[in-house]
């Protein structure tokens, strides 16, 4: 008996470019970005003015009872009180994904269904909690303060709230986190340990979660939303932050057949590699990312020439984008005609722990719905991109094999490979 094949069978989107699959696909097809001026950045204390905001949610207040979610979602008070803003996004994305996949309650809560999640926690709630602890004492702090704010908040809340009985944990490799979550979720199914895995990525989208990156000089200080996030452009000056949540459901072939599930694509395999270089900067030659791509292709049984599209990690930082271009050239050659390469972060901004599963989910919809997303906002291509086929408009045809890259702090790199079903 061979290892079971794994398929993507459900998606849920709460993103800066749409709150459901249809609007996300529409934004990707028409290269519509989700970047806006953000009121808490208007002060002179913030060198950064733009954020790729999640519209329709009001979750900036430190008091969760002030929060509002879009019509159609209901979160009871007992649910909301232990959630971070990214937990609210994720709760809604879970509901979307479950509805999308058509899962019955018994198919969610059983020993063969697990959940892996990735979130950076909630610096905003953690900070408010510490202030309250210092001002009025720890015994007046909300009892749910810890589970709402630390990095495991998504898995704590979703596993309990959706009565998950199988494997569950969280991943913490910064911007590669949900890539690791996807990869290890895939492994759980391949190893026969689980039949079905939810993969969840989420991040807050507020001053406390994003502004600290300005201190690293990592954020764009542009004020024009069409110029701020422009991966591969020669004049790029940093990334634009975003939050939200995306949920991807992976299922074994047997479950797909048993349920008669609709399939987005096959999850062929994944690979990872590390830079061993710098805590914050990527290796100049993209050493770890090159290894991740090579391993992912080898594990998937796919030759470089078979890859039609790469959804790049490229966040629009001067150093990071170049590293990735060099790694891509090292793996795929410098012919300059294929595979197509784009970064959807030009539209969405960079979602940190969220970004990897978000971008793999974009690839999954592209494979199913028949398009290849373009890389927006490029005025003058970086000379380093010579020899790489940067796709600057969305193509109305689907790739057959798509690859999605992610890189996190410390030089952690993950690549996943998806194939049209």
């Amino acid at each position: 008996m061979g290892s079971p094949r794994v398929f993507v069978t459900g998606l849920g989107f709460i993103t800066s470019i749409g709150l459901d699959r249809a609007s996300v696909v529409d934004s990707l097809r028409h290269l519509r970005h989700g970047i806006a001026r953000y009121a808490p950045f208007e002060g002179a204390d913030s060198p950064v003015k733009l954020l790729a905001t999640v519209k329709g949610f009001e979750v900036d207040s430190p008091d969760f009872e002030d929060w509002k979610v879009p019509a159609g979602y209901t979160l009871r008070r007992e649910v909301m009180r232990s959630l971070a803003p990214n937990g609210v996004y994720a709760w809604c994305a879970m509901q979307q994904c479950i509805a999308d996949a058509g899962l019955a309650p018994a198919e969610i809560s059983n020993p063969d269904t697990g959940l892996y999640a990735a979130s950076g926690g909630s610096p905003m709630l953690l900070f408010r909690q510490m202030v309250k602890m210092n001002e009025v004492g720890v015994m007046r702090c909300p009892p749910t303060g810890i589970v709402a704010s630390i990095a495991g908040t998504l898995n704590f809340n979703l596993v309990a709230g959706f009565k998950i009985l199988g494997a569950s944990t969280g991943f913490s490799s910064a911007c590669a986190s949900s890539g690791h979550a996807m990869g290890f979720a895939y492994d759980e199914i391949r190893l026969g340990r689980q039949k079905r895995m939810f993969v969840v990525g989420g991040e807050d989208c507020n001053r406390e979660s994003m502004l600290p990156f300005a201190g690293m000089r990592a954020l764009s200080v542009q004020t024009d939303p069409t110029k701020a996030s422009r991966p591969f452009d020669a004049a790029r000056d940093g990334f634009v932050g975003t939050g939200g949540a995306v949920v991807m459901l992976l299922e074994s072939e047997d479950e797909v057949l048993r349920r008669g599930a609709t399939v987005y694509c096959e999850f062929l395999g994944w690979g990872q590699g590390s830079d061993g270089h710098s805590v914050a900067m990527s290796h100049p030659q993209g050493l770890g990312l090159k290894l991740a791509m090579e391993r992912a292709l080898a594990a998937s049984g796919v030759a470089p020439a078979e890859v039609d599209y790469i959804n790049a990690h490229a966040t629009s930082t001067p150093i990071g984008d170049v590293s990735e271009l060099r790694a891509i050239k090292a793996v795929f050659g410098e012919g300059g005609t294929r595979p197509w390469v784009s970064s959807t972060k030009a539209l969405t901004g960079h979602g940190l722990s969220l970004s990897s599963v978000m971008e793999a989910a974009f690839c999954a919809t592209a494979l199913k719905e028949g398009f290849t997303p373009g890389s927006a906002h490029i005025e003058k291509l970086d000379p380093e991109a010579a020899g790489v086929a940067i796709l600057r408009e969305t193509l109305p045809e689907a790739p057959r094999v798509a690859v999605s890259n992610s890189s996190g702090f410390g030089g952690a790199n993950v690549t996943v490979v998806l194939r049209r079903a």
Partner: protein, 304 residues
């Protein structure tokens, strides 16, 4: 606290103090009457205001249906089982109560607060600076059966909660009670006389097990007998499947007579009332002071 004004009108007429502003912010999801009661309490320390504040804070955490229930609740309504608060929400409520009435409640104390009455009495003791009251105690069926002189098939209290001021219990009519075969033919209805018996049994349990009862000495279960009842009225026919919610409160306790008032509800409906149920009782025979306790063992119930 030292800066709090002693004149309630100052706070109302002048600019609110930072303390009052903080208090109003903390209570912003409570009703205006509760906020005003809390502001007045801070200014006057009038303990009469505390129940309004405490119930108002609990209500703010309840679903609308349960809030309505709280407004018409007896003190024996249980906050978790009856009002649907989970333990974390109870903790949230207690933290807000602590902040507003400026007291501290430790974990053991928090665990002992099962009913609305427990919370009211507890907070009242705290703000008056009295030692905390004895918490109510819960007895599952095994413990009820272990201390009661009545035994199945003639035991009509299945679980009970006892405090120094009241006792509550339940009895679920199973339909297997032998007397239902004849009461009535092809029409099983729980006899009113047995409903009165159930209230009497709960009163017996109170005499034997209530924490810090005002009796002063342990009661001998072999000495308790029914003497009379007054003002007994039935309001509802009870059938198999009904859960009788029994409650009794002592009206007079003085050896050898104990008088209780009792109520039975099914769900939210009144089923029966007894204005007075009276029992005679005697204390366990005192062993000589400082004697070994061993000889007494024979006169206590076997399982106690």
């Amino acid at each position: 606290m030292a800066s709090a004004t002693n004149n309630p009108s100052t706070a109302q007429s002048g600019v609110p103090t930072p303390e009052e502003t903080q208090l109003r912010e903390s209570l912003k999801r409570c009703s205006p009457a509760v906020v005003e009661a809390a502001v007045r309490y801070r200014a006057t320390k009038d303990v009469q205001l505390v129940p309004t504040v405490v119930l108002g804070i609990i209500e703010r955490f309840l679903e609308p249906g349960a809030a309505e229930r709280l407004r018409h609740a007896d003190d024996d309504v249980r906050v978790i089982e009856d009002l649907g608060l989970d333990s974390l929400t109870l903790m949230e409520a207690v933290i807000l109560i602590e902040e507003v009435v400026q007291i501290s409640i430790n974990n053991d104390e928090l665990r002992s607060l099962r009913t609305v009455g427990d919370i009211k009495v507890f907070i009242d003791h705290k703000v008056r600076g009295l030692p905390p009251p004895q918490p109510s105690k819960y007895l599952p069926l095994e413990q009820v059966a272990a201390v009661m002189p009545q035994q199945p098939p003639f035991l009509f209290v299945r679980e009970a909660t006892l405090s120094s001021a009241w006792a509550t219990g339940t009895y679920t009519i199973t339909g297997d009670e032998t007397f239902l075969a004849g009461h009535f033919k092809d029409n099983p209805i729980f006899p009113a006389s047995i409903m009165l018996e159930a209230l009497g049994q709960l009163a017996v349990l109170y005499l034997l097990e209530a924490p810090s009862s005002q009796l002063g000495a342990p009661v001998d279960p072999k000495t308790i007998f029914f003497t009379g009842a007054e003002g007994v009225r039935c309001h509802r026919v009870c059938r198999p499947g009904d859960v009788l919610k029994l409650s009794v409160k002592p009206k007079r306790l003085r050896m050898p007579l104990a008088t209780f008032e009792g109520h039975i509800r099914v769900g939210q409906e009144r089923a029966a009332v007894a204005e007075e149920v009276s029992l005679t009782f005697g204390f366990l025979v005192e062993a000589p002071k400082s004697a070994e306790p061993a000889p007494q063992a024979a006169s206590t119930p076997p399982a106690s």
